[in-house]
């Protein structure tokens, strides 16, 4: 068993590519050897800025001999067939072996020398290497067919045991020589074998193992900070980046002028991190300190004094630029900055950023005025109330679109509008121009410094949140209003112009926006009327076009189930400021139809995101499907409460048994062709009820259920018991659902378990008497419909 060493040395490999390149090298090489039937006992790979290395331990000297058997013609087959087979295999007739009347060609292939396989594998792997970006170089690049590599390839060390594996690619010949650190050991060093590679290079000031370099940096940076009485702000990304820029990392602590601390700490951190790849530190009070840690690539003759001085100077220049931007920006009121947004195109069909701001401001105000966003209880007056976040409370039957003037309700709407109007103003500031990732944050700083209400400043700062999983979800009502309005507008606007995400393409990050909305609603218990909000935003999405519609007075009944298309359409028509009139009316109708269709698309998109999100959170997909199958739910909070209750219920014994009973009943009903009474949404959607009518989930699903308890014959005890259990459970379940007490609804259903079991044990559904049969089927239908009030159990597995 012998070890193999490969080192591919090049000019500096971008830090961000090294880890993947190291993995790719191992993967490709192992695959290449696998083709020859070679397998290493251990595979190790390394990356530094100047080299990729691979060590394969425990390779055999030769590949195994194989005997290949090929089936030929039968004995006595026409001579042409035999001749053809002999030509194909290159054998003579007497070399064939006969078995059961069939001729076989058996070719023994001796093992190949492993070194030979390796010599062929090296150029193959190099040519096939998947660099994210590669280049040509040097005299060979006279042809565009010349070798491509991430940067010029300079040397190959290839040793099998202590023997060089001879190969050549693009003028680079393999050997045993490499170089050490660019400045400490620029001369050649000779590697003996895979065994001494790591240590020989260490002696030449190269730490080949990236993990070791990261440890050195992490520890050294931490200690440098501690020595100065500070604590390091750890940063995994910087660790990798600095380890990818050094072969001999030396963390060094530097300082900057304390006066720069007047600039927001995020700006300092970002400048240090992005432009200079420095770590920053905290002082004992937890505040950003005027210190940084840079990572040099040499063990300097003067201990790093000159390096630190140089880096301090560069950072000072960067920070004075940042301070210049900050101070200049502070002098311009955000309102004036917001005016400049008219010059920035948001999307060619959707107008400028200023147009978007206008839409968001109106939508944010509407969200407050229509009672979707309410003041926090400790800020608002009595009766303004908490948003019902627990699911156990019934929504107030009389919404308060205009909360008491002495409360903060009015203020809240104005604050939300104000914040929305200023939220994007920082996009035109110098600082955000320099550091786009500071959008929002800088606006927050400028707003606070310019005397805006703290809630407005906070909303400007946080309205982009949450930007991803694990990001903070805002809870302040002003922020929630602006954050929701901004994201709703984005989704609505792009759906309005049919720019929907497809497959992996989501250029406008609509998926992220929808997940943000879901998180905001879930965390805050916000009862967002999704259909109405999207429709309102869609109406306004096309500024300066004849397609622009302002649904000024759009109203809805909070906590209600969603409207079907007709109801939404009626509400939209009623809310238009101008009445529909004349020949133009038909166009308006068309526009509203377009909007209603787009809303349907957008809500389906939300439903998909919610499913994905819940699946990722570990909820069984069949339970999600069971609740979604009821259709039409507008209220994300309520929908999730239902999913949660269902998940708890089906894992109980009652739940499992009820499910079994339900399935049995449903099968019989299906066989007998008894239709579902409370079919999911579509059935209700045909009904044409106004927005104030309860939708399909709340209605008594089956009209026939109302008078089913009377029997026209002598009922058997089990069937009478089931009937009375249904009589008791149905109203309880319905009431619990109205109260959004889904646990209660499940409990009511659980009482059906024993009666349904007894019913199936002792009652024959398929009685010869058609009256009995019909009555029993009716009972089963009632049972099924009662269960459907909670979820479509047919979708549940098991």
């Amino acid at each position: 068993m012998t070890d193999f060493l490969l080192e591919l040395r090049s000019e500096e490999i971008p830090a961000r590519m090294q880890e993947k390149a190291r993995e790719d090298l191992a993967r490709l090489f192992v695959a290449e050897l696998d083709k020859a039937g070679l397998k290493a006992a251990e595979v190790v790979s390394y990356a530094t800025p100047r080299r990729l290395a691979l060590i394969l331990k425990g390779l055999p000297a030769k590949t195994a001999a194989v005997s290949e058997e090929t089936k030929g013609p039968r004995v006595g087959a026409p001579p042409q067939a035999l001749e053809g087979f002999l030509r194909k295999t290159g054998l003579t007739a007497d070399q064939l072996v006969e078995r059961d009347g069939v001729l076989f060609a058996i070719v023994d292939k001796p093992g190949r020398a492993t070194a030979e396989v390796l010599a062929a594998a090296i150029p193959a792997v190099i040519r096939a290497f998947p660099w994210p970006k590669s280049m040509r170089w040097g005299a060979d690049s006279l042809s565009t067919e010349s070798l491509r590599w991430v940067r010029p390839l300079q040397g190959i060390v290839a040793l099998f045991g202590s023997d060089v594996v001879p190969c050549e690619i693009a003028g680079v010949t393999s050997g045993a020589a490499t170089v050490g650190h660019r400045f400490h050991h620029p001369g050649a060093i000779t590697i003996g074998s895979a065994d001494d590679y790591v240590e020989k290079l260490r002696d030449a000031h190269v730490i080949v193992d990236g993990a070791e370099r990261r440890n050195i940096i992490a520890l050294g940076a931490k200690m440098a900070a501690q020595k100065a009485g500070l604590s390091l702000i750890e940063d995994e990304g910087l660790l990798f980046e600095n380890a990818g820029l050094t072969e001999w990392p030396m963390p060094l602590l530097g300082r900057f002028d304390e006066a720069f601390l007047a600039v927001p700490p995020e700006v300092i951190q970002l400048t240090a991190r992005v432009n200079q790849k420095y770590f920053v530190c905290r002082d004992s009070a937890g505040k950003l300190a005027n210190a940084f840690v840079c990572v040099a690539n040499i063990d300097a003759a003067d201990g790093g004094e000159k390096i630190v001085a140089g880096n301090q100077k560069v950072l000072a220049a960067r920070l004075s630029d940042a301070r210049f931007f900050y101070e200049t920006d502070l002098k311009v009121p955000l309102e004036a900055q917001a005016g400049k947004l008219e010059k920035i195109v948001f999307h060619e069909k959707l107008g400028t950023v200023a147009d978007k701001v206008e839409r968001v401001a109106k939508l944010a105000r509407w969200l407050v005025e229509s009672g979707v966003i309410k003041p926090l209880p400790f800020r608002g007056g009595v009766g303004v109330g908490d948003s019902a976040s627990t699911g156990g409370l019934a929504p107030s039957s009389a919404p308060t679109p205009n909360p008491s003037p002495e409360g903060e309700g009015l203020d809240l709407a104005s604050l939300a509008e104000r914040a929305a109007r200023l939220a994007k103003a920082d996009l035109v500031t110098g600082m955000v121009g320099e550091f786009p990732e500071l959008q929002g944050l800088m606006g927050g700083y400028y707003a606070a410094a310019q005397g805006e209400d703290p809630a407005v400043a906070a909303a400007i700062r946080d309205h982009y949140k949450p930007v991803g999983q694990g990001d903070d979800v805002p809870t302040d009502p002003v922020t929630v209003a602006v954050a929701l309005a901004d994201k709703l507008d984005t989704i609505a606007a792009f759906f309005r112009i049919d720019e929907k995400p497809t497959g992996s393409k989501d250029p406008f990050a609509l998926r992220r926006a929808s997940l943000g909305i879901l998180a905001l609603c879930q965390v805050n218990g916000t009862r967002l009327p999704l259909h109405y909000a999207l429709a309102k935003a869609m109406g306004a999405a096309l500024p300066f076009s004849r397609k622009h519609l302002e649904f000024d007075s759009l109203s809805f009944v909070p906590g209600n189930i969603v409207p079907n298309g007709k109801a939404l359409k009626a509400a939209l028509e009623a809310s238009l400021a101008q009445p529909l009139q004349g020949p133009a009316g038909s166009t308006w109708q068309q526009l509203i139809d377009e909007i209603v269709a787009a809303v349907k698309d957008a809500t389906a998109f939300f439903a998909d995101r919610l499913k994905v999100q819940q699946r990722e959170a570990g909820v069984r997909h069949d339970l999600i499907d069971a609740v979604f199958a009821l259709g039409g739910e507008d209220d994300l909070v309520r929908l999730l409460a239902r999913v949660k209750a269902l998940q708890a219920f089906v894992t109980t014994e009652d739940g499992a048994n009820l499910l079994a009973g339900y399935k049995r009943a449903a099968n019989i009903l299906k066989k007998e062709g008894v239709a579902t009474a409370s079919a999911p949404a579509e059935a209700g959607a045909q009904g044409g009820e106004g927005p104030s009518n309860p939708g399909p989930l709340l209605s008594q699903g089956s009209e026939t259920a109302q008078h089913a308890s009377g029997f026209a014959y002598d009922a058997e005890p089990a069937e009478a018991a089931l009937a009375s259990a249904l009589d008791a459970a149905e109203p309880k379940a319905t009431a619990a659902i109205v109260a959004e007490d889904f646990e209660g609804a499940m409990a009511a259903l659980a009482t059906l378990r024993a009666p349904i079991d007894a019913f199936f044990d002792s009652v024959t559904v398929n009685d010869a008497d058609p009256v009995k049969r019909a009555a029993r089927l009716g009972l089963l239908a009632r049972m099924r419909d009662a269960v459907h009030k909670v979820a479509d159990f047919a979708k549940i597995e098991g």
Partner: protein
């Protein structure tokens, strides 16, 4: 001083070293510049002379600046046009650069609307380009045992030239001192062969070598003339003109005329004059940009226009030279 043991110990070459390289390593390491008589460190003009001397002895033509206003040394036809075609080309020159939007009225110690780049172009890129480059840093006095030199990924792209390449920004103690690029395409055409381009920021390097915090404090020569003596008033006046005075109507007109003249030259099969007009259009666009009269939406359209002009000139240059190139390099084709 001895620290870790040198890898050469095994070859019997010495005791090993930490701070001072062992003999073979020291031989391979470029020597820092040492001058006698003249004061250390190098003045601005002596730095340029040293670079000229260094690259001249390494086979480069020492050219003079191009006599047109341009945003970067890459625009010099000695770079752009010469990067195309199969013939070897090695040249070094200083190119004054104009970046109207970077003007700060002489008030920012690090930003200028007019500054100098030192440009080296080597085609095809030699195998030891990095070592050659490091040798030039040593020549102007950078000591690699005390300063931290790093090659940090920075891929170069010029939307107005339709050009791109891969390479690095070279850091010296955290400061970018050079842009190091292997040109892959120019004017939308593959570079065959690839040229290596080194662009030194002369003022930055000088501030570094002379340890000055303000560009205006740099010693321009060894007789007490500062960079500020030469350029401070220039920066003040040019910033004012770029940002406030320049007649935008006249500039729009100039842009149109340069574009038209470029096209006329192309029709006349004159790629060099056409390319000059593309340079002109590019600079006029930069001035219009500084005056803030180009909207975000229009910006891309202007950049596209300049790119088309530059590409047209490159295409015409290739067309004109191709017979010659193909004759000298059989099998070569654009």
């Amino acid at each position: 001083m001895k620290g870790r043991v040198c890898g050469h110990r095994d070859d019997g070459w010495g005791e090993g070293h930490r701070l001072t390289p062992c003999a073979p390593c020291a031989k391979a390491l470029p020597k820092p510049h040492r001058v006698t008589n003249l004061s250390e460190p190098l003045s601005f003009q002596r730095m340029i002379l040293t670079l000229h001397d260094y690259w001249s002895t390494r086979g480069c033509l020492i050219l003079q600046p191009y006599d047109m206003r341009m945003g970067a040394g890459t625009f010099h036809p000695a770079t752009t046009l010469r990067a195309l075609g199969p013939e070897p080309w090695n040249a070094a020159f200083v190119q004054p650069c104009r970046r109207p939007t970077d003007g700060r009225y002489g008030e920012n110690p690090n930003r200028l609307q007019h500054y100098y780049q030192y440009q080296v172009i080597l085609k095809p890129s030699p195998p030891d380009l990095q070592e050659l480059y490091l040798g030039s840093l040593a020549a102007i006095g950078i000591d690699f045992t005390r300063h931290d030199i790093r090659f940090v990924e920075d891929d170069w792209e010029s939307p107005t030239l339709g050009a791109w390449g891969l390479g690095w920004e070279v850091w010296c103690d955290g400061m970018e001192v050079t842009q190091f690029t292997y040109f892959q395409q120019m004017g939308g055409f593959d570079c065959k062969p690839v040229a290596g381009e080194l662009t030194y920021g002369l003022e930055r390097l000088a501030m570094y070598i002379q340890n000055k915090d303000s560009v205006y404090d740099l010693a321009f020569n060894d007789e007490g003339v500062s960079y500020g003596d030469v350029f401070l008033e220039n920066e003040r006046e040019m910033s004012k003109w770029n940002f406030e005075i320049a007649d935008t109507d006249a500039l729009f007109d100039l842009f149109r005329k340069a574009a038209a003249e470029c096209e006329r030259s192309l029709e006349a099969k004159l790629p060099i004059p056409a390319y000059e007009q593309a340079i002109e259009a590019s600079h006029i666009f930069n001035l219009l940009n500084a005056r803030g009269v180009i909207s975000v939406a229009e910006r891309q359209a202007y950049i596209g226009r300049v790119r088309d002009l530059a590409k047209g000139a490159c295409a015409a240059w290739i067309e004109k030279k191709s017979p010659e190139w193909e004759a000298a390099y059989p099998g070569w084709a654009a």
